[in-house]
């Protein structure tokens, strides 16, 4: 039976040698190597649940009056997009489950990518020969953020509209070309032409998923062709990768992880409410609500937008840089610029142009680890500042006092983190040297 299948494939593709090699491809084992896979399986879930949602969703801003069974919205004027999403949520059987699973999968997808990125960064896995793989990964993170933003902007509920207004304003704020770009993308001043919705839709369900899927394929091909990195062990070294083969060792483990991701996402989708859009109501330009928060992965941008003090860069009566640019565009551009340039900067500074198949432990590269911790502390503090209004509600801390505190802390704490981390790394290394010496002394025969 198996022989028959294998022969069938080999006769028609000549693929037996390749398959044989693929089944014995070596996977080094460490829990942190699974983070990328979590992202991969979340993406699969996103595609599957997303396809289901397209079968019901209407990407249209045509105005309709709601006549469904949800009383608070009865008679309200809304877009077909919003109405169809309310319909999916309240009337399509299993619709809410799939919609919420889709939304949770997006949140988990971005989270997995970011934790994966942290692992890659702090173990130096981005070094040659895997820098290209790293750049593709970063690009996918950018696209994933955009894809998520488009996803919840499509619905045209109140929060969608507020998010789009902010996106439009940030685009407008880009020096020199911003207003032109915004008019181009929105097809006129906000809220834009009716076709804006269908354009977002085609980008969300077609263009970006295909681009991301292609990049995933490229990413994985590169990983496979240069093999996985590994930590130093008795048998593993720079020239030899040690681990279990795809089959039979790794396949059931990875399949188990895939099912576990599906399980968690379905459980969240079924049991934990997310974005109950029927409660928000439809978006109109004159409406907004207090206490609105975006999906978690845009929290750093809302934090940055809120922290910047009130100034526009002007010369006399001429506006050069409107305020929203700094938090909404300048901040993320800077962060991604640093991340994209990091491998080449590190090569240049350390003069280390060699191949690296073995991973560093964070302590092995104190400067990289310290600078990385400083960078991510900075981003994280800005992210936390985005929740200052929630902290006011929860703990009664004055909002304005918090903002002033964060305006100082986001610059001070990363510097503190830098030096503390560097010191910890160095102490850990020193401790190891002491330990080795102690063992050597103990092993010496007492004369």
């Amino acid at each position: 039976m198996i022989r028959g299948v294998v022969r069938f494939i080999d006769e028609r593709s000549g693929g037996a040698p390749f398959l044989r090699k693929a089944l014995r491809y070596v996977f080094p084992d460490h829990w942190s190597f699974l983070l990328g896979e979590v992202a991969l399986y979340s993406f699969v879930m996103l595609v599957l649940t997303g396809i289901y949602l397209t079968l019901f969703f209407k990407p249209s801003l045509a105005s309709v009056h709601y006549h469904g069974e949800y009383l608070p919205l009865r008679g309200r004027e809304m877009s077909e997009a919003y109405q169809s999403t309310v319909h999916i949520s309240l009337n399509v059987k299993a619709g809410l489950l799939i919609r919420q699973t889709h939304h949770w999968a997006a949140d988990v997808f971005v989270a997995a990518i970011i934790v994966h990125l942290l692992r890659i960064f702090f173990t130096g896995a981005f070094r040659k020969p895997r820098d290209l793989t790293y750049y593709i990964g970063l690009l996918m993170l950018v696209l994933a953020l955009l894809e998520g933003y488009l996803g919840y902007s499509l619905v045209d509920d109140l929060l969608s509209g507020m998010g789009l207004a902010i996106g439009y304003s940030v685009l407008m704020s880009i020096p020199f070309v911003g207003a032109n770009l915004a008019q181009l993308v929105w097809n006129g001043p906000f809220p834009g032409g009716n076709d804006f919705e269908s354009r977002m839709y085609v980008v969300h369900v077609f263009v970006l998923p295909i681009v991301i899927a292609t990049l995933i394929a490229l990413h994985l091909t590169l990983v496979a062709s240069r093999h996985h990195t590994q930590f130093l062990s008795r048998r593993a070294n720079e020239r030899k990768v040690v681990g279990m083969p795809t089959f039979p060792g790794y396949a059931p483990r990875s399949l188990g992880l895939a099912f576990a991701v599906a399980a968690v996402l379905f459980l969240m989708g079924g049991l934990i409410q997310i974005n109950p859009i029927w409660q928000w109501g439809p978006y109109h330009i004159a409406d907004a609500t207090n206490g609105a928060q975006p999906d978690w992965y845009l929290g750093w941008l809302i934090g940055a937008l809120r922290l910047v003090p009130n100034f526009d860069v002007t010369i006399g009566n001429y506006t050069l840089v409107p305020n929203a640019f700094w938090g909404g565009a300048g901040f993320p551009l800077f962060v991604f610029l640093v991340l994209f340039l990091w491998p080449s900067l590190e090569r240049r500074v350390t003069g280390d142009y060699a191949f690296h198949n073995l991973l560093d432990r964070p302590r092995d590269a104190p400067w990289r680890t310290a600078l990385g911790v400083a960078l991510f502390t900075w981003i994280f503090l800005v992210f936390v500042a985005g929740a200052a209004d929630r902290m006011f509600v929860l703990f009664g801390l004055s909002y304005e006092a918090q903002v002033w505190a964060f305006r100082v802390l986001v610059w001070v704490l990363p510097v503190v983190a830098l030096f503390v981390t560097k010191r910890i790394c160095e102490e850990l290394l020193r401790g190891e040297v002491v330990e080795v010496r102690r063992k050597l002394v103990e092993a010496e025969p007492v004369v």
């Binding site: 059987k93 181009l184 599906a262 409107p322």
Partner: protein
């Protein structure tokens, strides 16, 4: 003859002896002892996954079951969870976990050289390589620009003049959401009203305004705007100059001792605008005051615009302060 027979016999016996050895090739995967307990666990887990899987159509079809979303999610989730557990037990207990080694890939200097040579030799016949490359690059760039040209149809990319347009001009009546005109007497202190221009498209940034009333003595408008707030009634654009959200909070003041001035607050990034002082920014990120709309009370006691806003409406852009709004 006898020798031949013996030889044949030895050959036959030898063949028989050797055969089983020949039939059992070297194992690719190391062998290990069976584990019936683990098999039982996997069977159990598959059974549980089957039950949960069957539960999905049952829940779906049985309308009497409340909370479909929750139960469906539970059924799907548990089915996958059991499958996942089964896979992990199989991986840990029922298959052999082996450690194998492989060489990391190296570079291929010979092929690299050959590739370079291939390209070099293929270009032997060109005498003016640089010029040709430059000309080719020029053509490529031009074609690239040509290819993105149709994208300009997506929107009015070069027309930013519409950003200054608002539907307000002198005499336009203020109406509420239902289209009823606002009378000056309707406007009370310590609350805010959203108003729209009569007979105009409402879904544009220049349309919605916030109307509030202060005691005339509290007003601290710049002298150029004296008369913009009849009876202490003030109107401002409802769209924040920072990021385009609707200004939906009115601090009237809610926290008198710490935040004494009445202010309009945007709930997106908490830009705070001074109502008494022409919409100047008190706090938060907005870089431009909130545009104020001059008002007048007509002989019938209704509120009308006395002109257009004090500045361009909506989020700021390059050159936003160049001139005021247009009707």
């Amino acid at each position: 003859m006898k020798r031949w027979l013996i030889a044949l016999g030895v050959l036959v016996v030898g063949r028989f002896r050797r055969r089983p050895l020949l039939d059992e090739p070297e194992r690719l995967v190391p062998s290990a002892a069976p584990d019936r307990r683990a098999e039982n666990i996997v069977l159990l887990l598959f059974g549980a996954a089957t039950l949960c899987g069957v539960a999905v159509p049952v829940i779906y079809a049985w309308d009497a079951i409340p909370n479909q979303t929750q139960f469906l999610g539970l059924a799907f989730g548990l089915a996958f969870a059991f499958l996942s557990a089964a896979c992990i037990v199989i991986a840990k207990r029922l298959i052999v976990t082996e450690d194998i080694e492989e060489e990391y890939g190296l570079t291929h200097p010979e092929d690299e050289e050959a590739l370079e040579q291939l390209v070099d030799e293929s270009g032997d016949r060109f005498t003016r390589k640089r010029l040709l490359i430059l000309a080719g690059a020029g053509a490529g760039t031009a074609l690239g620009a040509a290819l993105v040209t149709p994208a300009a149809s997506l929107g009015p990319v070069f027309d930013t003049s519409t950003l200054y347009k608002t539907p307000w001009r002198r005499g336009v009546r203020l109406v509420d959401e239902a289209g009823h005109a606002f009378r000056a007497d309707d406007i009370e202190e310590e609350t805010f009203y959203t108003a729209y221009p009569e007979h105009a498209e409402r879904e544009q940034m220049g349309a919605p305004i916030v109307v509030v009333r202060l005691k005339p003595a509290e007003l601290r408008l710049p002298s150029a705007r004296s008369g913009w707030a009849p009876e202490g009634i003030l109107a401002y654009s409802k769209i924040c100059t920072h990021a385009g959200c609707a200004i939906a909070l009115y601090r009237k003041p809610t926290f008198a001792p710490v935040e004494p001035r009445p202010a309009l607050v945007c709930p997106c990034h908490y830009s705070t605008f001074d109502v008494a002082n022409g919409g100047e920014v008190l706090f938060g990120p907005a870089g431009r005051p909130l545009p104020q709309l001059p008002l007048l009370v007509d002989p019938a006691g209704q509120l009308r615009a006395a002109g257009n806003f004090s500045g361009a409406v909506g989020p700021s852009w390059w050159g936003v302060r160049r001139h005021g709004p247009r009707s």
